[in-house]
Symmetry: D2
């Protein structure tokens, strides 16, 4: 069966590439994957999946970092005008863009797989040597680009969906394909977990494309090294005053913000693991001669472990509070995203490694550290805490440009490789 | 003659009010007084003045804080469409909005008077109890408002122009009426001085409306207490990097900016006079998880004397430089406006005081400190340095709201009072 | 009588100089004027004054910036060994070094005069060109020096005491001579006021030597320009930890202190008057590789008015509190000294000016700003608030070196001049 | 032979304990190990070693963090009075306290071993339950204590010297025993390397006592996890001024210091490894009302790799420079200590592991991270760079109290274990 699955994946290559390029061209930002998710839902339906969409996927109030209503509404019109499937797009209004496809194959374990769908606010390279330009599938929306390979992830998910539907008679158990919105900024996964979609899941699988150094393709099960993270927005509200005439009548939000920036960056390192901290954006003040009455900071902290991240977050919040108090400003803090560190179950990682090597004859590499954060961690944490197992895997292929940059592109051999990988592992776990 | 001048000013009241309300309704920001100045030029021409406009008023390269070309171009269209005098507006293109009107009255001294024309970026109050709303002359442009009374100043200038033209036969010397753009932000006066319009001037007069506490109107010659000031924009340019993966590869402009804000605000007080400092605006960074690579600060410093201001400016520049170096960022600093402290010639102040009391029978008050800054100071400094005399005068009248606020309005008795004041003083100085 | 008083003062010159030089040689720091005050008490007693000493002068708990008990005890031994009057020194134990001398002259007004007695922690110049070295009356205690002229003040006070006692029959009212400890650091005056010694006082007079530019001596009544001030000590207590192994286990008092220093210095200027701020001393930490667990700051703020100073103090305290909270440290703040701004009663100043000019034929100068602070302000404030009048006067004489420096010395003509001034004014106020 | 060496070590237990307790009682700080090193030199001489002492061990100018000359001189007197060997102590004057003992055993490789001798500035616990108190070998010097086990290290070195001298006939090659001063603060090793004592060394061995969790003793070859580190002292020199009268005339070293503290602590984390930073001590200013003209910071940075440490040091120096420039202060920076991260040669580690397990039958544990820093790193780096091999080993035994604390003590089974370990490894490397 492993050989058959691998061959089938190869056979689908042309379709997979076409699908990926369509998604690349119509890239959509987090919580706005309206066209994308309507197409996903349509295909899953076509292939016989039970399809869950709209408010039934992401718990409304657990969605983090949601764009403004007007932005969502405007994008809805765009999606409708750019090829969204009209049977499914309606339910994505208001940013409900997750899709879950379920394939019931009788008694047995449940295997969940996560595929993320969102693009990044990056202007795609205009250089014609950039393949998406040359081959004319570059993003049609200025400032929105699949610069992290999620177009590939979604495509792999659809390929997996198709192949598994073809062998459903030979499987025993339940397949759950989760197409997640808003992974960038680690905003989406929690709302899916909190809706209950990871309850009673025995195995949860996820993956990310990564860059290969040697021109070859590899599978790297057990990829870790993602950091736990919390994204905070903080707003100091002070009081304006004329800076020349009566500076003492102001409550200076600029001073609060500057003090917070320096002290947040100066949070002592942690002896139990690495930490990160960044105030990436600061917008403060309205006029040169007015005591600044409002300052907004966009902050993120990270920790090698969930505990280190918690330390960083707590210290940051304390600094914000004290900075506000220091200059008699009010403070509002919002969580715009958060994620634990990914945990993999060693036993499952080892089993998958053997499937790849022994059964699928795919080259396996040691997983590298990712450095960044990944909210798939919410899913691994939840499943493991309920007694299940989790594995996060690198799909390592040659890439052009670096991740998140304007010139990013990846070798499309990734697509059949990913499909072979997932279907092979599912066969190993649920094959009759 | 004094009585006659005062009566004539009263007689013109209705016209002055109409003029002021027209200007109020079509308020224009600094360097964009295109409609305003075209109307001023038209009237001065009509009354027999030699009229200088366009590039002959403000020295191009000495104009500070100029808006972007597109903004100027767009506003030009607006001015044309909103009643600008088509004979004069052409020469204001590109922000050349100053006007000088000269009345040659034979041999004698030269008296220059300065009237400023620009409005502020303030949204006018929508409350119908606000008189400009009730009487329907509120600004027709959202976010632009004469909230500092310069509509009154320009109107007074026109009234003075008219009355002086009527008595020109009885004067001996030269009258120079300077209609200045961009006083807000102390951006315009220097370019007029540098063009040479204050050379060989014997007396220079200026004024500002101020609020009266007692419901009555007063004239306050010798108003001082304006601070010298410098307005600086500073841009730190660092290098972006992924805040999670490789923060050490960035050059963090946010840290440079926060360090600069705290240290600039912490510049030691000066033992020889009061100082002020404000970082009013800070814009930094593009993304939460990106090391900030650009931060822009809008700064102003002030000093009770020109020397104290120079100390504040030099220290600020040094802090900016060191902050950039500290985090290996590049730095660009631009002067967006500057002004010395106003100086009045005691002898002239005393003379004017007597004209008001003894000849015009106007109630004279002690001048109060203005607190803010006023670039008329460039003119007083230049004229005094060349052996002339200067006086800055408060026209004190009841006001609604505070200066620079959305609900500001003033008692229009200010208009004939101002005309009587200026014409009386000119008569005293140049009357045959 | 004025002529007689002036002549008597001249006559006493030799004794005054001898007295001043003795005090100069045995200079004593604030709250340790044990030898000095015992001698003062002895002479006042001898001249018939009611003499109040020890705990009856300064209210114990209102004494600010008191040295440690051991320091006081040790100095007591020194005083006994260096010529203190044994009848009076006993009561100075523990730092009770104030003396009040009262001369009852029947019905009438009460005139209080303040003379301060303490020296400074300055090493006196060793250069033999320094007159106290050349004429052998330099301080015998290393690091303690009358570098602010209080030796002269105390001497003048004793001269005044003597002369007034000689003319007591011709006076009508009450004379109160207050010899104050610990003026440096503005620590002593409040405790005398709070004990009630300024209650029911009609006139309070004080003075300070100041430098003359023209080689001549002048009297400058109505000297003001002293700032209100508050001196604070702040101690942050955190928790130590190994900086390499577990920095997160510390509570970093160094970060709290650095944040406080920058923010205190950055307190916005006040539109209603000048302010000053300084963190003069910071001691933090015990070891390079230990997270700092203790930091002590010595702070002072000043304001041109008592209100501006209050703003500075309140803001400083708020910053200290927030800085402690920010890094989870404890905070202790102690007031080490404080003073209001001196207020003079214009009516009394004018009266004194006339006494000097018309009656005493002393050259009168315009008072200059002192710049620093002076806790005589407590006395002026209290007396004025109870309906009395106050005057602070400069005794302007040629000086060597600058005040508070190692080479300071003053022209001893100051001594008879001061005696003539005070006795003349008292005669004017209380003469029968 | 291995069995024989182990047995001989056991046999010497009593002497080893006596030696360690003598050293513990007469603990000496870094560069002051005058008594200690004189005794070491005496014994090495007695056992037939070529002994190098005084200026021939540590390169004078490469010694870091040397105490003041007076301190050294005073301690010399103490050492002479407390049992130093008079034949050898003379050459330690001025802090030349290193000793190298060489045993020439014919042709062959050179094996160097490092033993450190210095104590810490810690007050030893007075509680009688503390074994050194109970058994009366607590430090006789207040504030100096062997709280890091170097008394044990030196004792092991002497035991190794003795046993190897006994089997010299059976060895082939050269033995070099290096008794190092001033390891605390990572001050001493570099000066030995720079003198050339590690040139042409084939193997270099070092060790540190570490705490065992299970009550048993283990050997942990290949211990790493020490951080590279640099210790810096920085002095800002500004200019004093009266904080009330003329603050602008000062150059405020306090502001420079506070800015440096916050920014140094805020140096961005490094993506390639952990970092540490601490400003442990800050002394600034002399008087509350004086603009601070001098501030001294004691700083340390660390990095998981030598490169990360270099980044931290370079950034710190840049911040110091910019902070000085910002407030127009001068800056002096001194290196007070530094160390690379320890590197072990995997091949040698593996060989030693097998010696322990197979030949010596000692229990081997996985090495743990040390967290702190260790200047043995200078030696490993130098030897490896010349083609040799290095191994740093943990001697893991039960301990009381934590390292560097007042109650620290260790199980003296460490002593024979250490002797057996070193002699066994040497036998493996050089045995005929």
């Amino acid at each position: 069966m492993y050989g058959k699955l691998k061959a089938r994946a190869e056979e689908l290559s042309g379709e997979l590439v076409a699908c990926r390029r369509d998604l690349h061209q119509f890239a959509e930002l987090g919580w706005m994957e309206m066209r994308t998710s309507s197409l996903v839902a349509a295909r899953l339906t076509e292939w016989g999946y039970e399809v869950i969409t709209g408010r039934d996927v992401c718990l409304d109030e657990a969605r983090m970092g949601l764009p403004a209503k007007e932005v969502l509404d405007e994008h809805y019109e765009w999606a409708v005008a750019h090829g969204a499937d009209l049977r499914f797009v309606e339910k994505t209004r208001g940013g409900f863009t997750g899709v879950v496809g379920i394939l019931h194959c009788g008694e047995g374990k449940t295997v969940a797989m996560r595929f993320d769908m969102d693009a990044l606010p990056v202007f795609e390279k205009t250089d014609t040597a950039h393949r998406p330009r040359m081959e004319e599938f570059a993003s049609c929306t200025d400032g929105v680009m699949h610069a992290c390979g999620h177009d590939g992830h979604t495509t792999i998910g659809l390929g997996v969906a198709r192949v598994l539907s073809e062998i459903r008679e030979e499987l025993s158990g339940t397949i759950k394909l989760i197409f997640q919105p808003a992974e960038e900024g680690v905003r989406g996964a929690r709302s899916i977990v909190e809706h209950g979609h990871l309850d009673r899941v025995d195995y949860v699988l996820g993956s990310h494309l990564t860059a290969s150094d040697d021109g070859k393709c590899h599978i790297c099960p057990g990829m870790a090294g993602t950091f736990a993270t919390t994204k905070l927005d903080a707003v100091f509200t002070g009081r304006a005053a004329h800076a020349g005439v009566a500076p003492e009548q102001g409550n200076n939000a600029m001073l609060a913000a500057a003090t917070a920036v320096l002290n947040i960056q100066a949070i002592p390192r942690h002896g139990q693991g690495e930490s990160r901290v960044n105030v990436g954006v600061l917008r403060a003040g309205t006029g040169r001669n007015v005591i600044c009455d409002r300052a907004k900071l966009e902050i993120e902290v990270r920790g090698q472990t969930t505990e280190v991240n918690a330390y960083m977050e707590a210290y940051t919040r304390n600094i914000l509070q004290a900075s506000a108090m220091m200059h008699q400003c009010k403070l509002a803090v919002d969580v715009m995203g958060s994620s634990a560190a990914i945990e993999c179950t060693p036993e499952l990682v080892e089993r998958i490694r053997q499937v790849c090597t022994d059964d699928l004859a795919i080259d396996v590499n040691e997983p590298s550290d990712m450095g960044g954060s990944e909210d798939f961690a919410y899913m691994t944490r939840h499943v493991i805490s309920q007694g299940g197992m989790a594995c996060f895997t690198g799909i390592q292929i040659p890439c052009a440009g670096v991740f998140h940059s304007a010139g990013f592109d990846f070798d499309e051999r990734a697509l059949p490789l990913g499909v072979a990988y997932y279907t092979g592992v599912v066969w190993n776990l649920l094959g009759r």
